[in-house]
């Protein structure tokens, strides 16, 4: 599907990745428009339910972006998030989705270029995987084609 434009949900920590996204904007850096950012007070707020709901509603890819390890504003929220993301990878695999559709990244608020790079890399990865089987828009297109 050459014209596939994935929908990607990025759960971003207020103290780092969200700031990095802001910086990327201020620096006029280009990154794909596929990213939908949801701000979190800390990635420690993330639970498997949040991530699963995003996939359930048709997101093709989901990532969590938190502070660099050791730099969490709440001391260890990002270290709480990491195993939760890994656990949720197993949950989506049980459902039949590729675990690569979910990832965790770490960056500081000063890393605007890194934010843009992650957005580009992840979008490319999801384009490679193709639409999620739960993405209603693309399912309709493929059903019509069939």
């Amino acid at each position: 599907m050459a014209d596939f434009e994935p929908t990607i949900v990025a759960f971003c920590c207020h103290y780092c990745a969200y700031g990095a996204a802001d910086l990327a904007g201020s620096m006029r850096l280009e990154y794909p428009t596929n990213i939908r950012i949801i701000r979190l007070p800390c990635t420690g707020k993330i639970t498997p339910v949040f991530l699963l709901r995003a996939f359930e509603k048709g997101a093709d890819g989901v990532y969590v972006a938190g502070c660099l390890e050791g730099d969490c504003h709440f001391i260890q929220g990002n270290l709480v998030a990491k195993p939760r993301v890994n656990y949720t990878k197993k949950l989506i695999q049980e459902v039949g989705l590729e675990p690569e559709r979910l990832e965790m990244f770490n960056m500081s608020a000063a890393m605007g270029p890194r934010f843009a790079e992650v957005a580009r890399e992840f979008t490319e990865r999801i384009k490679g995987l193709g639409p999620s089987p739960l993405n209603k828009k693309y399912r309709k297109i493929s059903e019509q084609a069939a």
Partner: protein, 222 residues
């Protein structure tokens, strides 16, 4: 608390086979504490089931609810307005809760989402170990507060077997020898005389050997 582990996902999907609308019912008791059957886990499982069924082009409608406990009639009564609307109930309680639901709601199939595994406690968050086998005749007075029935692989009552090596059990080098723990503890408490008393052959009748058990507080019977 009663520890449960979620059943393999494929088994849950198999059980829900022909159903179009189900109630996923969490339990606010033990399985909430051991992170397998509470409100959050009910949400996670519902989401997974919806995705799996949606993906296969066979969507399912799910009602998520969690009651305080599924092992008490007054709490499962709260599901009464919902159960007639659904094809089946997927209970996330231990085996007790599943049976209470099945007994109360006779016209609706009730399925277990968990395998009830043991009675235990947590050593740290998300890590649970077996400590009691509900044998019905507690011996912890004699054994320094360490249970030889649940924690000795052979449930021996009078000291370790020959498989005890460097404080570990022969079944697994990670498993402590319960009798080593008992002796160490009795020694430190200066109560080794209790180790000298022979324990008689165990009476297993208060255990499952006497059939299903019950406990009655007479003063509460009306």
């Amino acid at each position: 608390m009663v520890i449960g582990e979620r059943k393999p996902f494929d088994e849950i999907i198999m059980m829900l086979g022909g159903h179009k609308k189900v109630l996923v019912l969490g339990c606010g008791g033990c399985v909430t504490v051991c992170l397998t059957g509470g409100r959050d886990e009910a949400r996670v499982l519902s989401s997974q089931i919806k995705m799996a069924r949606d993906k296969d082009g066979n969507p399912i409608e799910i009602i998520e609810e969690t009651v305080e406990r599924q092992c008490d009639p007054e709490y499962i009564e709260q599901a009464a307005p919902i159960v007639p609307e659904v094809d089946a109930v997927l209970s996330m309680a231990c085996g007790v809760g599943v049976q209470y639901m099945a007994e109360r709601y006779k016209d609706t199939p009730v399925y277990p989402a968990l395998n009830t595994t043991f009675v235990g406690g947590s050593t740290k968050e998300g890590f649970y170990v077996e400590k009691c086998q509900t044998c019905g005749a507690c011996k912890l007075y004699y054994t320094g507060g360490i249970c030889p029935i649940a924690r000795c692989s052979k449930s021996l009552l009078n000291g370790p077997c020959g498989g005890s090596t460097k404080g570990k059990c022969e079944i697994d080098p990670e498993v402590d020898c319960a009798w080593q723990l008992i002796v160490d503890r009795l020694e430190s408490l200066n109560l080794m005389d209790r180790y000298e008393d022979l324990m008689e052959i165990n009476d297993w009748r208060p255990n499952r050997d006497g059939g299903p058990r019950k406990m009655v507080r007479e003063d509460f019977q009306r």
